[in-house]
């Protein structure tokens, strides 16, 4: 069972908002996810630091801001939060289930790494 809170980030938070709705829908029907704990937030590249005051399991970064990914990753690493760059194809297809699956794998990998 996964206890996850996700944060999605893109340039303005608009298209990612639609993706977040789709991921939410899939998460609600998934047996692998603790539904009471699950949360998904959307933010923009300029405002994401505001969200770090609350517990976040993984930050997903949209391909529109890939050029800032290394910088974001470094900032978040210091706070102990893993990051994942959303694949351009997955994003373009709005493939929420694949994106969620990859996110869960990344969270598991990160947990195993810090153990």
């Amino acid at each position: 069972m996964f206890r996850v809170k996700l944060l999605l980030m893109c340039a303005m938070g608009l298209s990612t908002g639609i993706l977040a709705k789709k991921i939410q829908g899939i998460a609600e029907t998934s047996k692998m996810i603790d539904h009471d704990y699950f949360e998904i937030h959307v933010t923009s590249i300029d405002e994401y630091k505001e969200y770090l005051k609350q517990p976040i399991s993984l930050v997903l970064v949209g391909p529109q801001v890939a050029f800032k990914y290394e910088e974001i990753k470094k900032t978040l690493e210091k706070k102990g939060i893993p990051t994942l760059l959303i694949d351009e194809k997955d994003y373009g297809m709005m493939d929420a289930s694949t994106i969620l699956k990859k996110a869960l794998i990344e969270i598991r990998n990160y947990e195993n790494k810090i153990k």
Partner: protein, 102 residues
């Protein structure tokens, strides 16, 4: 279910977005003096932008042929991404030339 227009908008956002990212990465490399890598990234950027442009042109062609299109805010947003990206790429190309002659 994803409507086709939503799918098109996301294809544009994703390709244009990734193109913009690569163009900026090219600029970062040029700043460091790695012009070969910058050139490669710029080519990748052009390819991504081309994909977005292609999809966009298709809608315009359909519209020109009289097809009714339910234009929504998401598509406006997608165009916003595409136009920003094209401008960024043009400027970055110029900037890289400036770095080269520095």
């Amino acid at each position: 279910m994803m409507t086709s227009l939503e799918a098109i908008a996301f294809k544009i956002i994703s390709s244009a977005g990734s193109g913009k990212s690569k163009a900026f990465m090219a600029l970062t490399e040029a700043k460091k003096g790695n012009f070969e890598e910058a050139g490669n990234l710029l080519e990748e950027a052009k390819k991504s932008i081309g994909e977005a442009h292609e999809v966009h042109r298709e809608i315009l062609t359909n519209m020109a042929n009289g097809e009714q299109i339910n234009y929504d805010f998401l598509m406006v947003h997608a165009e916003d991404h595409l136009m920003n990206t094209i401008l960024a790429k043009e400027l970055i190309e110029e900037l890289i030339e400036v770095y080269k002659t520095k």
